[in-house]
């Protein structure tokens, strides 16, 4: 059952990408620029979790919670000390994008300086399940379930809660929301903190399942970005759909392509969507990344 196994692997990868992309998309829709350091924030979360859980031997739940707090705090820090001053000066979206790229390189290399280039892992596993010949470990099953739960909560939050509605209003039309008395600055910060908290959760799940190294943020960012763009970066369900689409395509693609080209799939998908369908499958408003 090769195909079934590939589909399962695709679902696992897709769940991780969906967490990356949904945090990223939440930040993008409330702040209206591409926060390319999101992957680096996840990497920092991964090393925080690894340090707390394995080296300091703290219980799993406490380490996970502390990681989520740490990435949220980092998200707030970057907003308060980098993006907010830039926005006050009236920085264009491309300038903010360049700043976020610089931030990504900065964080990645600080981790490289502190932890060295070697991959690290936590040997953590739960009993596996065998679905008609295809293997899935308990942990991977848990990743899929947790991701789905978080994504549903997030969806319900933006759809029905008051804060979520306000966020969508700001995402949809920033000026109009300001005129209606919404404090858009507060919404921007909230978006940043929630997005970075999801990054923390993604970091915990990734660290439990895979090897981590200081370079992984780059890869994650490309995957999350691709998922978000393919689905439509302004639409949260779109970003989630795009991520699962990418995860499945990468893994099922092995049937036809040599496996070393797995990572090229995302780059090709990203560039072709940017050129031919920049609004993605579900995005509506083309103006949102254009300046």
């Amino acid at each position: 059952m090769l195909l079934l196994q590939l589909l399962i692997n695709g679902m696992i990868a897709g769940s991780i990408y969906a967490l990356v992309a949904s945090g990223f998309s939440l930040i993008h829709s409330t702040n209206r620029f591409l926060h390319l350091a999101h992957g680096a924030v996840i990497t920092l979360g991964a090393f925080t979790f690894h340090t707390l859980f394995l080296l300091l031997d703290l219980p799993l739940y406490i380490s996970a919670l502390a990681t989520i707090v740490a990435t949220s705090f980092l998200g707030w820090l970057t907003y308060a000390f980098i993006y907010s001053p830039l926005k006050t000066r009236g920085a264009s979206r491309s300038t903010l994008l360049v700043a976020s790229l610089a931030l990504a390189i900065l964080l990645g290399n600080i981790l490289l300086l502190l932890f060295g280039p070697d991959p690290r892992s936590i040997n953590f596993d739960l009993p596996g399940v065998n679905i008609s010949g295809a293997l899935i470990t308990g942990l991977q099953l848990l990743i899929i379930i947790i991701s789905l739960i978080i994504l549903i909560i997030l969806f319900a939050f933006t759809k029905w809660s008051k804060l979520g509605k306000t966020m969508r209003a700001v995402a949809d039309n920033h000026e109009l929301a300001e005129i209606s008395g919404i404090n858009s600055k507060k919404i921007e910060i909230t978006g940043f903190i929630i997005g970075s908290a999801i990054a923390g959760l993604a970091a915990v799940l990734i660290t439990l399942d895979q090897n981590i190294d200081p370079y992984m943020g780059r890869e994650l960012m490309i995957k999350g970005l691709t998922g978000a763009i393919v689905g439509g970066v302004t639409s949260l369900p779109g970003a989630v759909f795009g991520s699962y689409f990418l995860g499945l395509l990468e893994n099922v693609g092995i049937l036809w392509l040599p496996s070393s080209y797995k990572d090229a799939i995302a780059a090709v998908l990203l560039i072709s969507f940017l050129l031919f369908k920049p609004t993605g499958f579900f995005g509506l408003n083309k103006k949102t990344i254009n300046d």
Partner: protein, 284 residues
């Protein structure tokens, strides 16, 4: 001497980037891709025993051709989309360099690229190569200067300031953008060739995000649309990491310390001095 050569190479590379990013106002994050394409072209040609000058010119041309390809694909995009599209172009080129092992040997890189000398002149290899690099740098600078000071160059600035008005005046926007990107990519291709022959070993990791941050910080520090600024900024930025060697920092820390310095510097300039040293335009 190595440092002088590297400054010459990076001036050529960054002046090229300033043509798109500074003068024409295109948020171009794909410049390193042309640098990489130029480096690999020159390396492969030289190892097939083609003369240096031929490899150099062909590198510039492959750079320009890729520039044309990029602009053909992206000429309708603006702002954030353009930045993202050029960035994914560089990521695509990087992934290709990594995976096309038949041609590029992937992560193993290409070793043993010969360093050319001057005919009939007896000098240390680095000294004669420095002369070659500095000559090419001067030619590029003069060319860029003449071009940007000319009436044609003002069209690029007009492209930056008001594309719609320019098109209303009957100028062909696509042709201007394409020429701008191709000339800029030609510079990058040439710089890539010089880079490959200087280091004698190249691998894909030299042509990706850290490098993008490095050359972007050079252009932003020097100031958009300022050639003199770019030259000064290149010298400053390439000299900073040399200080690390004097501070006796262990070698394994120098690798990550460099990008940390460049990235922090870029953020600091963007936040506190968006015009850079000599820029006419604010980069924010």
């Amino acid at each position: 001497m190595h440092l002088v050569i590297m400054i010459g190479i990076y001036v050529t590379l960054s002046v090229g980037l300033n043509l798109t990013m500074g003068f024409a106002g295109v948020p171009n994050l794909g410049h390193v891709a042309f640098f990489g394409i130029g480096a690999y072209t020159s390396a492969l040609l030289s190892l097939s025993n083609f003369p240096f000058l031929f490899a150099l010119v062909v590198s510039g041309l492959t750079g320009a051709t890729s520039g044309l390809l990029l602009i053909l694909l992206t000429h309708e995009l603006k702002g954030g989309y353009m930045a993202l599209a050029t960035l994914s172009f560089s990521s695509l080129v990087y992934v290709t360099l990594l995976n096309w092992e038949g041609l590029t040997r992937g992560t193993m890189g290409i070793p043993g690229i010969p360093k050319p000398g001057l005919w009939g002149v007896k000098l240390a290899p680095n000294t004669s190569y420095a002369l070659i690099v500095l000559t090419i740098m001067m030619i590029s600078l003069l060319f860029a200067r003449r071009l940007t000071a000319s009436p044609y160059g003002r069209l690029w600035i007009a492209l930056r300031d008001n594309e719609v008005a320019l098109s209303a005046l009957g100028k062909n926007i696509f042709r201007l953008k394409a020429q701008n990107m191709m000339i800029s990519a030609f510079f990058a291709g040439i710089a890539g060739s010089l880079f490959a022959h200087q280091l004698s070993y190249i691998d894909p990791s030299s042509f990706y995000l850290s490098e993008t941050v490095l050359i972007t910080s050079i252009v932003v520090l020097g100031g958009l649309a300022s050639l003199r600024g770019t030259v000064i900024a290149t010298i400053i930025i390439l000299l900073i990491p040399e200080a690390l060697y004097f501070l006796n920092i262990p070698a394994q820390y120098v690798g990550p310390a460099k990008p940390i310095i460049y990235a922090s510097l870029l953020l600091i300039i963007l936040i506190f001095r968006p015009n850079g040293l000599l820029g006419k335009y604010s980069s924010v």
